[in-house]
């Protein structure tokens, strides 16, 4: 996309997010979810990665995912607008066997929300607001389409997750290169949303530190608070750099290099985003521990997000292997 065009799309998403953000956990209701999803769908973002060549770069999509993460939103930008269309695109480049029946697929993950191993059980349709079906990539690259079932519980109150049928209809297979791209893309997009969440929440806690007075002065003037916010900023910058660079690698480098960069990004985000939100909650103090405050919506998002696709333990083991053996 041209720079101007991207800025326009980003600003559109920003305006949408400001309008439909949940002010507290009590705002998360069925009707508001449906309204928000309809409004997001009207932005037409699902076409960004559906064509070959795609209308938007991965770097651009990652920035949009960051933007989406900044506000507490119930909408499925990741599952239905970014991930499933990219999967269909990669499938078209590989071995597409059968058409997909659903109009608006999302993606299915193993029951523990990770990339599946060979005997994944209890599939769930992840990030499924507005979705009518779910696509599942098996460990060896086979892709199947699954029916959506009852809502599945999740600690992330914003994210729509439903059970998915155990049996799926085969729709094709990803080539090994496309499979690497898929995993890298999914890691980058999910990580980017968490980066947006962490950055935004730390920003809110910085603003709060300026306003909140104790002992007759703003708490942000105390060095102990300043250092905590400085450390949180370092974490946010680190995970921003890692995800943006990984996104660029997907646009410009080999699938193998892109997957390594994406794994690094997710590993950094898994720990950094959670730590940064902890720091912000400490600065907010008591108010952040209440149901009414948005803090726990952010914490829930990054906490569950750190377990989605690949946990820190999964990633560190892979990244500890010598280059030559990978």
């Amino acid at each position: 996309m041209e720079r101007d065009e991207f800025t326009l799309v980003r600003d559109m998403l920003r305006a949408f997010a400001t309008r439909f953000r949940s002010g507290s956990a009590d705002d998360v209701k069925a009707q508001t979810r449906t309204d928000a999803q309809r409004a997001l769908d009207e932005l037409g973002l699902s076409g960004l990665r559906r064509t070959s060549p795609p209308a938007a770069t991965v770097q651009e999509c990652a920035l949009l995912a960051e933007e989406h993460g900044r506000q507490p939103l119930t909408t499925s930008l990741l599952g239905t607008a970014l991930l499933a269309p990219e999967l269909l695109r990669l499938l078209d480049l590989g071995e597409r066997a059968e058409p997909v029946h659903g109009d608006r697929p999302t993606v299915a993950l193993a029951g523990d929300l990770r990339f599946p191993d060979r005997d994944a059980v209890g599939l769930v349709a992840w990030d499924c607001d507005g979705a009518d079906t779910a696509l599942f990539v098996h460990a060896e690259g086979r892709v199947t389409e699954h029916e959506l079932g009852a809502p599945a519980p999740t600690a992330d109150l914003l994210r729509g997750v439903r059970r998915a049928s155990a049996e799926g209809r085969p729709v094709g297979r990803l080539t090994p290169g496309a499979h690497q791209c898929w995993q890298a893309y999914a890691l980058v997009v999910v990580a980017s949303e968490l980066v947006g969440a962490a950055r935004s929440f730390v920003g809110q806690s910085v603003d709060y530190a300026r306003e909140r007075h104790q002992y007759g002065q703003p708490i942000g003037s105390f060095q102990a608070v300043q250092h905590q916010l400085a450390d949180a900023t370092v974490l946010v910058e680190a995970c921003t750099s890692a995800t943006r660079y990984a996104a660029w690698c997907l646009d410009s480098e080999t699938p193998g290099r892109a997957l390594t960069a994406a794994r690094v990004a997710k590993a950094e985000v898994n720990s950094a985003a959670v730590e940064a939100v902890y720091a912000g909650m400490q600065v907010f103090g008591g108010i952040a521990q209440t149901w009414e405050h948005v803090a726990h919506l952010y914490l829930r998002r990054v906490l569950v997000g750190a377990a989605v696709l690949a946990t820190t333990a999964d990633l560190l083991t892979v990244l500890a292997a010598p280059e030559a053996t990978r």
Binding site: V225, V264, A320
Partner: protein, 382 residues
């Protein structure tokens, strides 16, 4: 910070450069380091050899002896050196940037080509016994005489490899009354000037990298001042901003190499590693690659027109995190260095403890982030 797409460089163009550099390296192997040759002497020979191939100052304009390419090209060369286990590119990037920005045209034309070629070896005279991270406490004084020259008196500390250097980028106060940010000036000090005494200082790792510098009635000409009187503070800020980016210091390749060594050691000893050590190695790999990504993002932002500023404190803290965790882990992978004769890892481990002190302590970096990046209010010093 930008929230539009960044240009991390043209992979094909950089790949071509990498290819050319590899071809050159194949014909110009690393020189041997004879036993007893001091590290800076060895590194200086390597510097000259790299320069002869055109691999120093890639991002410095051609009229000053560089190649007029971008910082991303310099990064690629640095990467490749690390991958080959070769010492990094000479650490002159931060000095070159300070001269490019503050030096007169005459100084740039005279000093930069000799700096890049290694004809002049530079050190940095910023810190003092009474003023480490706090430059405002600087007491070295350059008194301007009516004839136009300066007479300098004072003492500098932590001047790396001054005993092997010919020139020093010296900061001295030129006005005792004005506040620090307006009263410090920068000079090029030839270390053989009468009145200069260099005394090496032995560090915890046994090396004599650090020196003390004593200045007794040292005469400096007006033409040896860099920039105007009072430009010393912004010059120092520019210098340290560049010095805090892992790319400019050339540390990245050194870390990358050690990580691959740790990975291989872990791979060979599979199953016999203490609990958690494998994931600690993975964590070091993540720290390192995050640092690479971060340094590239900074470089891309700079190429997009942002100058180096207070965000370099983030860079420094990230570099410190990566370095200290890496050498702590390395000592656990090679514990024999603790109960044996010691070795390179133990030496570098000691050096890594200084990472949170040199170039401005970690606490100073946090203060800079809080005040200048986040705009938090000034408060009580407690």
């Amino acid at each position: 910070m930008t929230d539009t797409p960044l240009d991390f460089g043209d992979p094909e163009d950089l790949e071509r450069l990498r290819h050319d550099f590899r071809a050159w390296l194949a014909g110009h192997p690393l020189p041997e380091r004879p036993p007893g040759e001091p590290l800076p002497v060895f590194l200086h020979r390597w510097h000259r050899r790299l320069y002869s191939g055109g691999w120093v100052g890639l991002d410095v304009p051609e009229q000053y002896g560089g190649r007029g390419l971008t910082a991303l090209h310099q990064v690629t060369v640095s990467d490749e050196l690390g991958a080959r286990g070769a010492p990094g590119v000479p650490r002159i990037g931060y000095l070159a940037h300070a001269l490019l920005r503050f030096g007169s045209e005459e100084q740039r034309r005279r000093l930069l080509p000799r700096m890049l070629s290694g004809d002049d070896v530079w050190c940095q005279g910023f810190s003092e016994p009474g003023a480490g991270s706090d430059l405002a406490g600087m007491s070295t004084y350059a008194e301007r005489r009516p004839e136009g020259h300066y007479i300098v008196n004072g003492q500098k500390l932590w001047t790396s490899y001054a005993q092997y250097s010919g020139l020093c980028l010296l900061l001295a106060r030129t006005d005792r009354a004005a506040p620090a940010h307006a009263s410090i000036s920068a000079f090029v000090l030839p270390l053989d000037r009468p009145g200069v005494t260099v005394r090496p200082l032995r560090a915890a790792n046994g090396d004599d990298e650090f020196c003390e510098l004593f200045l007794d009635d040292v005469r400096l000409e007006e033409s040896e001042r860099i920039g105007a009187e009072g430009d010393g503070w912004p010059l120092a800020m520019t210098t340290v901003a560049y010095e805090r980016n892992a790319l400019d210091t050339g540390h990245l390749s050194k870390y990358g190499l050690l990580i691959e060594r740790l990975r291989r050691a872990a791979h060979e000893r599979r199953g016999t590693l203490p609990d958690g050590l494998l994931s600690d190695i993975g964590r070091c790999a993540v720290d390192y690659q995050v640092l690479v990504a971060h340094a590239r993002r900074r470089t891309a932002e700079r190429l997009a027109g942002q100058s180096a500023g207070p965000e370099s404190s983030v860079d420094k803290l990230l570099m410190t995190r990566a370095e200290q965790r890496l050498y702590e882990t390395a000592l656990r992978v090679f514990p024999e260095e603790l109960y044996g004769e010691g070795g390179e890892v133990l030496g570098d481990y000691f050096y890594s403890r200084a990472a949170s002190v040199y170039g401005g302590t970690s606490q100073i970096q946090r203060n800079i982030i809080a005040k200048r990046l986040l705009g938090l209010p000034v408060g009580p010093r407690a």
